[in-house]
Amino acid sequence: MLEDIKERIQEEFGFKTEPYDTNILLVHGEKEKIKDFLKFLKHSGFNYPHTISVVDYTPKGEGFQINYIIENIEEKKFVIVRVNLLEDELFIPSVCDVFPALQPHEREAWEMFGIEFVGNPRLEVMLLPEWAKGTFPLRKSYDFEKHRKEKK
């Protein structure tokens, strides 16, 4: 199953793939084609999105990494689509019209990391209090001492 999809990804999109774990395939995607690619995955049976996991590699000089984790719930297989973003180009097309269930996950990633999902209708503060908007707490540069609520 994963072998088939691996070949089709190679043919249609030319993305590099590598085995990640048993039942999991890792795909190195590109920002421009991400929407088409997720549409392709959805039509290939990977219809249950788990989450969007962002990793901040800026201290290592590698920018941000976005992982879309998607499951094929019938065949019990996973695909992780990985896109790397440069530190000064923090935007990516939103995929919430392909997978509406990913919309709140995009919103959370925006709130915690400041990555703009272009086309997401609702990039608003969700978990943080209103005063902490824009502090991006899950970034490595976040400082508990510095980012405090201002005293009145």
Binding site: H50, I69, F78, P100, P121, M126
Partner: protein
């Protein structure tokens, strides 16, 4: 944006239109916004903004973040072993499932095999945690309709499990008992006996009595059958998880699909229902209790001899892993990244209640106001795990 609205999903963008004078009266006649919460008996603190037209719900918008603790960040300041105290605090009801998931992920990166006995103890504890959590879920589902007896019954049954956890680890909740490398304590005979006593009580006393009164209950059926129906395709589309997904007829259970701990060696069934309504979700919880009892009995019978933990190194090699476990509320994903240091570089936790919560606006569209609590409680969410 136009094509998203054509899909029929409401992402609830609030309209901030100024109204005054005559218009205000017209608006109030038409749509009314109600606040539901912040305190809530069926889960933790949250607020629902409910817009109603008469008594029909037009749209609903959850307001969350009241128990936000930034656990994913706090983990980055801890060592591999210490991080379990943050991971288990995702939810106090079933803390064993999350600790197991985190430990498996860390072991996978470190390339460590744990003893068979540790896997069996993890299975016993995880199922104990699931029972404890499901009992509260059942109790609060009926409780939200105004009947408080089942909650008291559930608490009596739950107490016996908490006693056994106390004998095992010294704590009733927040036990910190599962660590990367195995489990922290040897299971004593006293613990096993107490656990057997608890499941005997559950099987002989609680389940038959509860089934008679609160499962096959005509009033409860009238109130919850056909309420919040989610067909199979839609359940996948809006991303439901756990018991709610299984109640829509999808046999998705990580214990069966990607066996971890000792689940691959034990015999149990995945409970599914076809209806996909609130009553089906309630019944899934109840029947999973029976399956959990079955699993605990088998795991106790098959408990092997030998070591219960191995040494986990202070530093583990760079790498990452994504592991799912079937937590009480559904499949919980851990994406853990190591950069070769003494603690996690990044931990992303995929929480099932978060998925269920944001599926709820789609489910509640067009129902009656009185059905909102029923649907809400049937989704069986926990706030620790929505906010993290």
């Amino acid at each position: 944006m136009a094509d998203i609205s054509q899909l029929g999903f409401s992402f609830v963008v609030e309209e901030r239109k100024e109204v005054s004078g005559k218009d205000l009266g017209l608006l109030q006649e038409k749509l009314l916004q109600l606040n539901w919460g912040v305190q809530h008996p069926a889960s933790g603190p949250m607020r629902l903004k409910v817009w109603i037209d008469g008594d029909e719900v037009v749209k609903i918008d959850p307001d969350i973040g009241y128990v936000f603790r930034l656990l994913e960040k706090l983990v980055e300041y801890r060592s591999w072993i210490n991080a379990i105290v943050n991971v288990e605090r995702i939810c106090f009801m079933d803390d064993f499932g999350t600790m197991t998931g985190y430990s498996i992920t860390a072991e996978k990166i470190a390339g460590i095999e744990i003893p068979k006995k540790a896997n069996y103890i993890r299975t016993i504890l995880c199922e104990g945690g699931r029972i404890v959590s499901h009992l509260l879920g059942l109790g609060s589902f009926v409780g939200i309709m105004g009947v408080n007896t089942p909650m008291q019954w559930a608490l009596i049954a739950r107490e016996k499990f908490l006693d056994s956890f106390e004998i095992y680890s010294g704590q009733r909740i927040a036990t910190s008992s599962i660590v990367p490398g195995g489990v922290r304590y040897e299971p004593t005979k006293k613990f096993i006996d107490k656990m057997l006593e608890a499941i005997n009580y559950l099987e002989k006393e609680f389940i038959p009595r509860y089934e008679e009164v609160f499962i096959d209950n005509p009033t409860l059926k009238m109130r919850s059958k056909g309420v919040g129906v989610i067909p199979k395709e839609k359940a996948i589309k809006i991303g439901l998880a756990g018991p709610a997904l299984r109640a829509s007829g999808i046999a998705s259970d990580i214990r069966k699909d990607y066996p971890y701990a000792a689940y691959g060696e034990l015999d149990f069934n995945v409970v599914t229902k076809k209806d996909g309504d609130s009553y089906a979700r309630y019944c899934v919880l109840f029947e999973e209790l029976k399956e959990s009892v079955k699993i605990i009995r088998q795991a106790i019978d098959g408990l092997p001899e030998g070591e219960y933990k191995v040494r986990f190194p202070i530093k583990i090699p760079p790498g990452e892993a994504y592991v799912n476990v079937e937590w009480a509320r559904g499949c919980f994903g851990f994406h853990l990244v190591s950069d070769g240091g003494t603690g996690p570089y990044r931990l992303k936790m995929r929480a099932p209640s978060f998925a269920n919560l944001w599926a709820m606006p789609e489910m509640i569209k067009g129902v009656k106001l009185a059905d909102v609590p029923v649907i809400f409680a049937s989704l069986y969410m926990c706030h620790g795990d929505i906010d993290r």
